[in-house]
């Protein structure tokens, strides 16, 4: 695990110029965009994208086959990818939060407590994104993974819209249902969302392990 983490950090080193550029863009945007959730989400997504990009680096010239001849299990490889993706995405989330709150406070447009609340609300979304992205990337190589992502997210929206329509046809008031959900206390809501995100991430990790265990090189 330690060796794999070092490898990924070393691979990240070759993308340091791109990472620096991303940070500069985020800083620039934060000065004229008032919606701080955008900056935080942007940097968190960039973090995940760079982390999952190490899978492509591993696959370069059949490198994955060689990796599994080293003292690395497929399960260990997947867990390391999840840890590294969390490290990168949470790193991006944290930097985004610091930038957003810093700029917001300097401009006097936002209180830091409000900024922290927004950032915390975005955290489950970051975990969910990692939970969807990693199995896709491990299952499909290169362009296929991007196509699969589009299909999955497209399918998710179609199913959501259809679900709402079905509920309406069944005479269930969706708006009232949403209002009743919002009646749950903020603390309880946060616990439910956080628990659901972590459960989704664990399920995703389990699926990814199964994917890797069935792969042939």
């Amino acid at each position: 695990m330690k060796g794999l983490l070092i490898k990924d950090l070393k691979l990240m080193k070759s993308t340091r110029n791109s990472l620096a550029l991303v940070l500069l863009i985020a800083l620039g945007m934060s000065t004229y965009i008032s919606d701080i959730s955008f900056i935080i989400t942007y940097l968190a997504i960039i973090g995940i994208t760079f982390a999952t990009g190490t899978i492509s680096y591993d696959e370069f010239d059949n490198g994955s086959a060689f990796l599994f001849t080293l003292p690395v299990s497929r399960r260990g490889y997947v867990i390391e990818k999840y840890l590294f993706s969390l490290l990168m995405s949470l790193g991006g989330w944290l930097i985004g939060t610091v930038i957003a709150i810093g700029v917001g406070t300097a401009k006097g447009t936002m209180a830091s407590e409000e900024g922290i609340m927004v950032a915390l609300m975005l955290l489950p979304m970051v975990l969910c994104l990692a939970a969807f992205l990693l199995p896709m990337r491990l299952k499909f190589e290169g362009d296929k993974s991007r196509i699969a992502m589009v299909i999955v997210f497209g399918g998710f929206f179609v199913i959501t819209i259809m679900g709402v329509k079905v509920l309406q046809k069944l005479g269930i008031d969706v708006e009232a249902l949403m209002k009743s959900l919002s009646a749950i206390s903020a603390g309880m809501g946060a616990v439910i969302v956080a628990a659901a995100s972590i459960a989704l991430l664990l399920l995703s990790c389990h699926i990814s392990i199964k994917i890797m265990e069935h792969k042939e090189f």
């Binding site: 070759s14 010239d61 003292p71």
Partner: protein, 283 residues
Amino acid sequence: MLRIENLRKSYGTFQLDCSMEIRPGCVTGLVGQNGAGKSTTFKAVLGLISPDGGDIRILGKDSRAFGTKDKQELGVVLSNAGFSGYLTVRDIIPVMDGLYAHFDKPFFLEQVRKFGLPDNQKIKEFSTGMKAKLKVLTAISHRARLLVLDEPTAGLDVVARDELLELLREFMEQDENRAILVSSHISGDLETLCDDIYMMHEGKIILHEETDVLLDDYAVLKMDESLYDTIEKRYILRSRKESFGYSCLTNQKRFYSENYPKLAVIKGSIDEVIMMMIRGEAL
């Protein structure tokens, strides 16, 4: 060290079905044409593909139970794979250190210097020869007991090949309980390095012989048709029709040299034996 029994794997019309054994203290070669099944055998041994059947025991353990701790004792070179080309030699050192309990950093660095490998250049920018050297160095730098080397000398010039083979000999001399399974297209490498050789064709082992026996007792006999009709065929393994008559492969060179003085007896080489075993007909 390694025992393969009735290993089976199918890809379309290709069917692998082989058995072999690598003993402690031995360097065993695996030769065959492209597509003969050598890499498939290596991949099955290393757990990179799932066999359809058969048993593989590595270092006394069933390959399915061969875990990350066991892999500490394994050194591997794959013909078409290695560390990511985006890493440098300097990057690899802490990675190897983190992965292997017995990574010999001073030895690795000394060999990197000796082979003139740039330590701060991306591997993808290395020449084929430099990549091959690095692969072998990473395989032998952590006190492995068994080396599995698929085409380790591919792309190397004569001098570099000789240096690498010397490195492998030194590796074997350090501990008599070590072993190497190696494949190569360059039969000269195998003749000087291996104790025994397996020959593979269309997924099957067609010959297993000790290298000394192969070089001393095997020969290709060249004769015209009249001699072919009368010659003793008990010790002829394969024969092949030629423009001048027949070429025959034997594993009893001395018998034919002594009893047929006019016969052209050409000393066996791995290339000659492969050619005859594949293209010749069994009598």
